[in-house]
């Protein structure tokens, strides 16, 4: 009986309106304190820049993109978004830990294999990483934080993300339903 309860609680999440309300308050609070919104892909960009900078420093300096984020005295990892992202990992770990959701696993539909899931995860990641650079932000930085201040670009990015995801969902349906 007790085990059954434990099994069940793994999938009990917050009411989405409650989660959304708290997230909205958090975005408001972030703007109130820092004058900027939240982000997620920025820290990954900083990581890529700092990896390239340490592996191939001349290449990084000569590149017209990496060099935008490299300064003489400071590491690209000393960045607001990198600290925020460390916090995201800690916060998600706490929440997952409290609900008993922590554990190594590959989550996928029973209709597909783990390998197929991982292949599509890589493809999705590459596309999202590429798109987030072109649009200068992802769902957090461009769409959500942009919409909070009625940024035109934020709304366009949001519409483009959801529009294209709905338009192409049919081709990926086997992975999910």
């Amino acid at each position: 009986m007790k085990k059954e309860l434990k099994q069940k609680s793994k999938h009990i999440y917050w009411n989405p309106y409650y989660g959304g309300f708290l997230l909205g308050i958090l975005i408001l609070f972030t703007f109130y304190l820092t004058g900027r919104g939240l982000g997620a892909s920025g820290a990954m960009k900083s990581s890529v820049v700092s990896i390239i900078e340490s592996v191939a420093p001349t290449h990084a300096e000569e590149s017209s993109y990496y060099s935008k984020f490299i300064t003489e005295d400071e590491s690209p990892m000393k960045n607001w978004l990198v600290f925020e992202t460390l916090g995201v990992l800690i916060g998600a770990f706490i929440s997952g830990g409290l609900s008993g959701r922590i554990g190594w696993r590959i989550q996928h539909s029973p209709k597909i294999t783990s390998k197929r899931r991982l292949v599509f995860a890589v493809i999705g990641g590459v596309l999202f990483g590429l798109g987030a650079q072109i649009a200068r932000g992802c769902t957090s930085g461009a769409a959500l934080s942009g919409m909070a201040v009625l940024s035109t670009g934020g709304f366009i990015t949001m519409l483009a993300i959801f529009g294209s995801a709905y338009a192409t969902a049919y081709f990926f349906r086997k992975n999910w339903i």
Binding site: Y13, P16, G20, F21, I25, L26, I27, L28, T30, Y32, L33, T34, R36, L38, A40, S41, M44, S47, S63, L81, T85, G87, I90, G91, A92, S95, G96, R105, L118, F120, I123, G124, G125, V126, L127, F128, G129, L130, A132, Q133, I134, A135, C138, G141, A142, S145, M147, L150, S151, T152, G153, I156, T157, A160, I161, G163, S164, A165, A167, N175
Partner: protein, 196 residues
């Protein structure tokens, strides 16, 4: 008056500490809302779970109402806030590519980090993919530069671009969101349930 750190009300040294605290709250809320599960996230595209739509639009609305209300009350100067810049074709093309990535991988960057934190291997692979995507963009930057830097309209808001009153826009946006929530519940009832 806010924003507090740019205006020197809170010393700048606190910036990175506040970043970690805000990040913890962000990660906690996303994970607790179920955003560490790719199958829950993907539900919004197939109609079996609309958590993404509900959380995302509720958050955007609460934030935008809060920002304009605090501006109205004089606690926050909306003109001092960072407005995500508008590079028209960058936003459209980047968004389209991200949309395909979302439905293929089942995560966006923020949610994948939450899933990494609780040990999802598919999310770790996804984050690796994002970094490869950023690497590809950086190496081929000259190719992308025209859309990355071109078609720039400034850090504009909908008020500047469309000439509409922000208060009216927020009101209409709220009504659209409520209608979307009602419709999403109706759709969800009709779609075959998926257990994950």
């Amino acid at each position: 008056m806010g924003p507090l750190i740019p205006n020197g009300v809170i010393p700048f040294e606190w910036d990175n500490i506040i970043a970690i605290l805000i990040g913890i709250a962000f990660g906690f809320v996303l994970e607790a809302s179920g955003f560490s599960s790719s199958r829950k996230l993907a539900g919004v595209f197939y109609g079996y779970d609309f958590a993404v739509l509900k959380v995302f639009f509720t958050a955007a609305l609460v934030a935008v109402i809060g920002v304009y209300y605090m501006d109205y009350l004089g606690f926050l100067d909306v003109n001092q806030l960072y407005v995500h810049p508008t590079y028209l074709w960058g936003a459209i093309i980047g968004g389209i590519i991200m949309g395909v990535g979302f439905v293929a991988g089942g995560f966006c960057p923020g949610t994948s980090l939450c899933a990494v934190a609780i040990g999802k291997i598919d999310a770790i692979v996804y984050v690796g993919g994002i970094m490869v995507g950023i690497f590809i963009f950086s190496e081929l930057y000259p190719l992308f530069q025209p859309i990355y830097e071109g078609y720039f309209y400034g850090n504009v808001t909908l008020e500047d671009s469309l000439g509409i009153n922000p208060y009216w826009f927020v009101f209409i946006f709220s009504i659209i969101a409520i209608v979307a929530f009602v419709i999403s519940d109706m759709v969800q009832k009709r779609v075959k349930k998926i257990f994950y």
